[in-house]
Amino acid sequence: METRIRLLLLSIAIAACSGCASMHWPWHHPQSDATASASAGTDDSDASPPSVIEPQVERRTIKVPKIRPKDFEIGGYYGELSIQDFGAQPVAGARLDYHISEDLFVEATYGRAKGGKTSFELLSGNVQLLSDAERRFTYYNLSLGYNFLPGEVFIGRNLAMTSALYMIGGIGNVKFAGDQNFAINFGAGYRVLPTDWLALHIDVQDLVFKSNDIGVYQLKNNLQATIGATVFF
């Protein structure tokens, strides 16, 4: 009797195990099952492998748009430069500014003018102190500016433009009378922006350098007043 019960239990266990394959156990891999059935059914040409659904998800690459900085200003200016002893002459130049903060900016300028005749040359007739090439006055400045009075300008009821009164000072070089001279510059300017990208300038600066172009070393003050326009980029 006992042996019969054992035999019955054993046969139930074997039957249960053979049924294991058809059950979906959580650790059972469906892929291996599919390949197993595919390899088993090679002799049967009609049997197609069970299709496995592959998710076709196209991942979107999200590109965060960049913010364009517009801290640089480039442009030109034109005005009058009073070259000490050589008269007031037209001057033209180019400028590049970089705005570091709302208060401070750095500026590089390059300008050219041509010195006129000294009073001595005018009075004494045919005397030439400098050659034509030597009369060329070229300079560059590397300056630091400070917007000390920022504000707004109103034209009529509908137009408001941001503006700033700034102080500027720096170092540079002046080439005049065939000689290079270390120079300092300082002055003030006014900037008004009719649009976000355009600025109009009025500047007054003094270019100071030491020179011996007339035989003795003396400090030369060269006042310059210009108007200009720049674009922000």
Partner: protein, 241 residues
Amino acid sequence: MLALWSLSLVATPARAAHELLQLFVTEPYLELHTGPGRGYPVAQVVARGESVDVLFRRTDWFKVRTERGVEGWASAREMKLTTMADGAPFVVGLGDRAQFAHHRWEGGIFAGDYAGATLVAAYSALSITDNLKIELGLSQYTGNVSDGYTTEIGLAHVFMPEWRFSPLVDIGTGYVWVQPKATLAKPVDRSDELGYAGVGARYYLTRRFFVRADYRQYVVFTRTNANEVNEEWRLGFAFFY
């Protein structure tokens, strides 16, 4: 007519191709000023949950456009509290000590002395790491005996970039163009290669600004038998971004 209409349909997405960054206000409100400065009056506010499109940036101010099409200037300090469309915080460099230690570009202007001549110099540097920088320099000197220009390229190593006062060493090479001054015979301008090694220090001031001082020794590889050794010191104002 139909063709024109279809053209305008095509043209619309093309115009919108230049995408603007959209940011969402998470604070109670975002203030919009009339100009890019702390003193300009607040003309508009954007409420929490609303968004703005960033048109461009000028220094620490952003020109933005609201959903209703109103434009104004928002400060970087306030923009830092907005989020992007996916909820991630908007990250913006404000120019502080952390950025002083970790930035990509820097530039500056120097005045100083090169072998007894007055020196004006400008430099720009690109950071490879926080410690190591590639430097490009241009300088002009004006002296009693000669004037000249130099161009240099070199490497600078900053010790402790996170310190407010950080020392550095640099080494590099370049060219010098010398224009001797003469009264009797006109000597010929010459150009020579040069090498330099120097020590320096930088000191963080505020925002994006620091001062920098350098002492360098230049060796000018002249065409004569003896090389020329020149000393240079310079002090300058620099900024990073």
